[in-house]
Symmetry: D2
Subunit: 345 residues, 4 copies
């Protein structure tokens, strides 16, 4: 069996999950290299995943010609440069979402990628790979519920990560880039059109620290799409009862809803609090399976020489809308997405 | 509009519900008489329901020739005699379940009732009148799920009534007569056959006082029916989270389940305890609507001169099986229902 | 017992429900008069509800001095005038929502009502009287889930009424006045503040006839409130699977959700389609109990001489926002509610 | 890292799952040998799992001294002999449930195993390793719901495997050995006591072929335990809507329920059939994760030199009760489990 040799850069919380998936669970891949500035992360790669080639310099890793593909799981501000470097060095590239925070960076990546059509480049919008989301998309495409005209989607995490998130939120571009970019991509995917106009609201209702950092702990937005359909998006960092990410699609002949209720497992408890189930805590738990299916798909795409369904243009559009939502939130007005395109070009 | 004049006997907790239903909510009935040995109950009839003719003697009430029908909501040990007296005095009769505790009493009532085919006599197995149970029966009869072969049914009340129930349990004949008689009737109704063999178990797991009174706080039973189908029955007086009465029917092409989950209302709470709903507390709350539909049906039957679907024979059979279950519980062995019939005849 | 004598005007679909409730189910009320231009409706009042005084002229009915209170269940365009006439004639008034379509009419009513503080005037926002909504409000006020910052609320009816609704939609002021006014009032009620800015979208996705009539079959809106909280509202006339009205409240320590799932009853079916429950079809079915609780509250308020919790100002504000939503939908822009106030004054 | 070298015997449907788990997903194990009489199964081991040592003779495989442990996934009638051979040859042993159909065989295994206390022997009762069942057990042990007194448990498979099962059912000892043995073990585990008396019923309600083969397509049983608690068990081969395995525990302060509803994934569909979710089809899908956790636990037990929580005695007791249930079903009477023990000894 031919196996794909992968080098990973970034082994934080999510990077470790990727490293483990590539090293052990993707049958047709080997994790042969890892790059990080953090010694603990390199130790993890060597000791837990058996990675032999360890690098503290990304440039150095890109000189290793045994590597076929690079997996980029670093912070968002490094994505664009690292993708461009890897593509120009001749590697296939998988990169965690979002593509970038600046639209300029997105266009820069698009242009480079266009020049290398034989290399596979894939952005990780993991929710498309969740079996329940994929089932919804299949049923929608088969016409089970007719023509979709509304998407209601939210990304909600439990409050356990709050202090960590306060530090993180500026670097990541804020909630619309970090959370809502998933819901934006799903709206585009399910409604078959692009968002053209947005209005967003929100606040630091629980922890004023998020507000002081220029961000929020809960945000809400309404979006008009080119084809006359609508998406309503919400996100929260501070859900008191657990992770609660769901998406509902209204269509002319029925509705589809994915992810609600966010049950931790198949145990139901009946006691003095009523009949209840406990909830998942993190998107790790919720999408653990999807992260594996996604990287497996990347490896299969590379080995079969086909580009993935989600293109760089899709990723750029998601960033574009995340920017529009951020601007709307800050300037408290309706934003035309096209105005941002014009500015960026 | 012709209205039926009703006299009620017994105005305890459930009797008051009946009195109110007849006085105000059944359009084609008048509550014109009430009988009780308890002054407070007669006061209720007069003050709350506007009843004009009040009696402390049942015989006296039966001399009132303005009355068309009698509603008997007394304790079980009085049912048989009161039905017989009313029928022989020329009245239509509605009586709360069960018909009696002794099978001999059941047969005695059956014989008297047979002699008066023009008078309507009805036993109150309220669950048949609950809209959800009725919907299940309709769908079953229409063949939606094929041929039924198994019924799992339970009658479960919240623990709030425990002290009251300890006093009550001997008079009422114990849990099988008081709780399970509903599930027995439902098994007969849904499976289209009669129970012929039973084995029952149980105990006073939470309050040993029930055990000391010769009864239990939880009972379980398995029943074989004449047509080769099976019913499994459970009952509890002491559910910690609320009323939890449900019935599941397995059939060759699908299942039907009624009453699960036992939600108090349409509110869902998501908080530190998980995602949860609160439960109904009592069978009053759960079957409030069904009690009204039931007495309305009795009135309609009388005014239209037709016997109700549930016959005295159905009621006798339910008592018969409740006896068999009680005997099995006490003697710890399989019981053939026919053996009790032979003994009783 | 003192009973309130009520005269009703308007006996269409909903008016008949009110007439029946007042005639039979509200203990301390008598339905003594009815007014309609439609003979069938007067026949209903006389034959089904036993009403003795029948009028084809509203002015005539208001001369009947046996009447204590008037219930107005006519089309929205008549509400304001009929309220004013009844109040000025000395009657207590109950009127179905909404107060009016024009804000000028609302202010006119407010002014008249102010002059008669001893007369009870009540607008029928029925959802506040649904036991599940009331339970949510109680738990919110008790602090169970902390401080609320987001309401997601929708009013969705099954597609069975579509043709009827096409005719009706212009007279009623469109979907925002007919459907969303409930969700607007709930957002105000639960979030403890008023909507100040709105953006709405929607379309005639299923029946283009609604679009041709200047309305929609589905609408969506986002609203910013004075206190920095957010409400997202949706409405549909054409749900393929049934009535699906729900409201979710996000708060700092938990969420409350009312009305989801919209089960028809307590029956669950498991067959080749999966595990499923059937849905309610109409808001009549869903809020049947609440309509009774509401009119009972009106009668109690009158007999006890206290004004209801929901004031004319609340009703005016709901109409104001419905106007803003309608304008936003038509002019495709953000609307400041205050701008409408200024125009109207 | 020290890794355990495993040889597998039996690579049917379930054996292939085990082979794949051991080869790829258990980090500290290698699958180095495979034995089967079927060439396709050996091809699978070599081609899909990369197994190098292939055997058509079990005796031959046991001569390979590189092997540390043997995994037995053959048909039930071979379990006892193959366990004994492997243990006597010095190997650690994992064997799929049930231990055997004959109690004599169980005792024979027990005696051999006792002589080799340093070798790890484990029977695969997979449900104990399902995260939801494990969560229930943990919460029960922590006292969350008080003291348990009733278990209701069922093993239900979709009707897709029917023809295959008709051939299979005699070899496997029938439904009580093949399906109910799981529920028996769970009853023992959750209730902390052993079943002493049983009565079972059932029939071939959907496919008479099962009846003709001396078995059933649906069975039901009630069991009394030594400590006065009760278990009610059901099993079906022919569920029309899918796999539906669940277990409910009633305890003095609350209930725990595992596995209900048996949702295929997190997608909910609302259309003309109502609001619904599709179901899992097979126990493979339902317990895919648990099969992996289980074999991982075996490997960990061996490497850490500790015996697993479930002992040979537990496995023998489950077979004993499965025999009692089968006998009760055939002879239509209550069976004392002790009577079977006396016969067997």
């Amino acid at each position: 069996m031919i196996k794909l040799n992968i080098g990973i850069v970034g082994l934080g919380r999510l990077g470790k999950e990727y490293a483990n998936n590539i090293a052990y669970l993707v049958h047709n891949a080997n994790l042969i290299a890892a790059c990080s500035l953090v010694q603990e992360e390199l130790d993890f790669a060597r000791d837990t995943c058996g990675v032999k080639n360890l690098y503290s310099s990304y440039e150095d890793m890109l000189t290793n010609k045994e590597i076929d593909a690079v997996a980029i799981i670093t912070s968002t501000d490094q994505h664009a440069d690292q993708i461009i470097m890897a593509v120009e060095a001749g590697f296939h590239v998988f990169c965690e979402k979002p593509l970038a925070i600046n639209i300029e960076d997105c266009y820069k990546v698009e242009k480079v990628v266009e020049k290398y059509p034989d290399q596979i480049t894939m952005l990780g919008f993991v929710r498309r790979y969740d079996p329940s989301y994929a089932d919804a998309k299949t049923k929608l495409d088969e016409g089970l519920v007719g023509s979709p005209f509304f998407v209601r989607s939210q990304t909600v995490d439990k409050d356990v990560f709050a202090p960590f998130q306060i530090e993180y939120c500026t670097a990541s571009g804020g909630m619309f880039h970090d959370f809502s970019v998933h819901d934006i991509d799903l709206a585009h995917w399910f409604l078959g059109s692009d968002i053209k106009k947005v209005w967003s609201l929100g606040g630091a209702y629980r922890f004023k620290e998020f507000g002081e950092a220029g961000d929020a702990d809960n945000v809400f937005a309404m979006c008009e799409l080119e084809n006359g359909t609508t998406a309503v998006i919400a996100a929260s960092r501070v859900s008191p009862f657990g992770h609660n990410t769901f998406t509902e699609i209204m269509a002319t002949e029925g509705n589809l809803k994915v992810g609600d209720p966010p049950r931790k497992n198949m145990l139901e408890i009946a006691d003095v609090h009523g009949v209840r189930y406990e909830c998942l805590e993190t998107f790790f738990e919720r999408f653990k399976g999807a992260f594996l299916v996604q990287i497996q798909d990347f490896v299969d795409c590379v080995l079969e020489g086909k580009q993935p369904a989600l293109t760089m243009q899709n990723a750029t559009k998601a960033t574009l809308v995340a920017n529009a939502l951020t601007l709307s939130f800050k300037e408290k007005r309706l934003i035309n997405v096209d105005d941002l395109v014009l500015q960026a070009k």
